[in-house]
């Protein structure tokens, strides 16, 4: 008898716990959901955040495989949304009435709205931004301030970059093209890619390794195996905190600016929680905390005063006004481009 009572009690608790445990399934980048904020969010709303780490390509593949199910919120880059949405329909339009627009830098909100528009509806809210540029070890490679340093014989065996699309775009700029203008003209873009791949294949001896994992790149920079790398700005700033010789450099061709967003998958189960998380993350103090932690700027309007001064110093050192004006923001990638680039990337990697 006693046993049955205990069992019943346990069952009740379990049921209650299940009813209470509302979850948000978040598909995002490493570092985009700091534990501190996840805990705070749970305390505030009672919603548990289940985080899955990924990158742009895998995010798209995962959502495409389930036709937009399995996650409540994803964080793709703004330039990778329209083509994907047009072809695979994995997202649902954002209901901007549910977004606390006052928290968001208006120009960035407008830009993202515009860039993620499909059939008159926008599919994303900006979250954070950063740039691809150079991380340079100033002692070993003084004066490296151009993407051309990545193919410079001087740094033979001391260069690293990711064999992904940013290097193709950066090299395009370095060779005097404007890849973003060529997005519309596939033929011209292909011609540029051919030139870029030729250059990169020729410069292969310069490369130590194509990095695949951000942490391992930082380790290679830290140990002095790599002098010049193409990578994200926050990585350079993290290293700068340890070793003053290493820093992020905005190349003179212009750093490549990206904006990562919030987008809601088509078959999200808990959209309410998704909107709650979006507003929560863009709240100035939370966004400031994120920026301090990850050294990544956010789209939050009032976050500035919550950012630690040394992180602000990193931004100021890396970007003077001219460098900011020179940032090349990734426009939306038209469909079919990635396939073309994929072949070029394979070709470069396979070449001897």
């Amino acid at each position: 008898m006693k046993k049955i009572v205990v069992l019943a009690a346990l069952l009740t608790f379990a049921l209650a716990a299940m009813a209470q445990a509302e979850t948000l399934k978040l598909l995002t980048w490493k570092g985009y959901a700091p534990e501190e904020l996840v805990n705070k969010f749970q305390k505030e709303t009672g919603i548990t955040v289940e985080v899955t780490y990924s990158n742009n390509e895998e995010m798209i593949a995962k959502l495409r495989a389930t036709r937009g199910a399995g996650f409540d919120l994803a964080q793709p880059s703004q330039d990778r949304i329209t083509a994907v949405q047009e072809e695979f329909k994995v997202y649902q339009p954002i209901d901007f009435a549910k977004i606390d627009a006052a928290q968001v830098i208006p120009s960035m909100l407008e830009a993202v709205k515009k860039n993620t528009q499909v059939a008159g509806k926008s599919y994303a809210v900006p979250f954070c931004w950063g740039t691809d540029g150079l991380i340079v070890n100033g002692e070993k490679a003084p004066g490296a301030d151009s993407y051309k340093a990545l193919i410079d014989e001087k740094y033979k065996g001391r260069v690293s970059y990711r064999m992904k699309r940013p290097i193709l775009v950066a090299m395009g700029f370095a060779l005097g093209y404007n890849p973003f203008d060529l997005y519309k003209d596939k033929k011209a873009y292909k011609a540029m890619l051919d030139k870029v791949s030729e250059t990169l294949i020729k410069a292969k001896p310069v490369v130590q390794n194509y990095w695949a994992n951000g942490d391992s790149l930082l380790e290679s920079m830290r140990s002095g195996e790599v002098f010049v790398a193409m990578a994200w700005d926050n990585g350079g700033w993290k290293l700068h905190a340890e070793n003053k010789a290493i820093d992020f450099v905005a190349p003179k061709e212009g750093a490549l600016g990206w904006i990562d967003t919030f987008a809601i998958p088509a078959k999200a189960e808990n959209t309410a929680a998704a909107y709650k998380w979006i507003n929560f993350m863009l709240r100035p103090e939370n966004a400031g905390y994120f920026t301090t932690q990850e050294k990544t700027g956010t789209a939050s309007a009032g976050a500035g005063k919550f950012v630690a001064p040394e992180v602000q110093a990193d931004f100021d050192r890396g970007f003077d006004q001219a460098a900011i004006d020179n940032i090349k923001w990734y426009p939306p990638v038209p469909a079919g481009l990635e396939e073309m680039e994929g072949q070029v990337l394979d070709k470069i990697k396979a070449a001897k």
């Binding site: 390509e57 593949a61 992904k164 195996e225 994929g342 394979d346």
Partner: protein
């Protein structure tokens, strides 16, 4: 009689369902996907273009040839190392040592492949452990880059494959009567001849099954070539991954997947033909 057949069917049903749902269906889906593609107008049509691409685009088939070649080399090296190791475990070591050695071989597999590969990376990298000692001992003045080379990649692949070669070899060697070795020795054979004429022929089924497993594992490996191989190490699996993930070209990716299946089966079939064996004999 009828009852037992019914019971058999009931027991078999979940297995059959499992096989069907998790193996057959996805493959059928992949096969269909590999036969779809876009024509010039962007319309989705049935086509063999995805398969043709493999043969017309040198990057693709060269990558496959390279991958297969390195898989064969890895299998051969693994075999050469595993043979004496297995012999020691099966014939030389005392029973208690035998168990300990098997555990030692198993030990690396208690951690994930990723951790193992990172372990090797820490050892081999320019600022790594091995270079540190080489410099300390004065063997080299400047650190040597040992990681990100084909040799490093093969090292990693061999390391990952060892166990799958040693286990079948130990079990066939256990069944080898010591007196056969002594008889050959007695009849005038030297060590090498004994290996060639007695031990290896006896171990043939184990060698074949070990080689098939190692070859397939190596061919299908993704992490090790990617992380240890460096800038020239495009592996065929990586190409499939890239088709699916980076280029969003699932049709092409599925076609590559089927080509990998077909071509690796072909290579194994050729290997069995060349060594005059039958798959059934090997499996038993």
């Amino acid at each position: 009689m009828k009852g037992s057949r019914l019971a058999f069917a009931i027991f078999l049903a979940p297995v059959a369902a499992w096989l069907f749902l998790l193996i057959v269906l996805p493959h059928v889906d992949l096969l269909l996907m590999s036969l779809r593609g876009k024509d010039e107008l962007g319309e989705r049509v049935w086509t063999l273009a995805n398969y043709m691409n493999f043969f017309t685009e040198p990057v693709y088939w060269l990558t496959f040839v390279r991958t297969a070649l390195y898989a064969v080399i890895t299998t051969a090296i693994t075999f050469c190392i595993a043979m004496p190791v297995s012999f020691y475990i099966a014939k030389v070591a005392r029973p208690r040592v035998q168990g300990a050695l098997m555990v030692l071989l198993l030990l690396p597999f208690w951690v994930s492949e990723l951790v193992r590969v990172y372990g090797w990376m820490i050892l081999l990298r320019e600022s790594g452990v091995l270079n540190f000692f080489l410099m300390k001992l004065g063997l080299t003045q400047k650190p040597v880059e040992m990681l990100y080379t084909d040799a490093a990649m093969i090292l990693g692949l061999v390391y990952t494959s060892m166990l799958f070669m040693v286990v079948p070899l130990v079990s066939v060697m256990d069944s080898l009567d010591d007196s056969l070795i002594e008889a050959a020795y007695d009849l005038g054979a030297g060590k090498w001849t004994i290996w060639r004429t007695i031990i290896i022929p006896h171990c043939k089924p184990g060698i074949t099954s070990g080689a098939i497993v190692v070859f397939m594992l190596t061919l299908g490996n993704y992490l090790t070539p990617n992380l240890m191989g460096g800038k020239n190490s495009l592996w065929f699996t990586e190409q499939i991954y890239n088709q699916f993930i980076a280029s969003f070209n699932w049709n092409q990716g599925s076609a590559f997947g089927f080509l990998l299946l077909a071509l690796s089966s072909l290579i194994i079939w050729l290997g069995l033909k060349l060594s005059r064996q039958k798959l059934g004999e090997v499996a038993s």
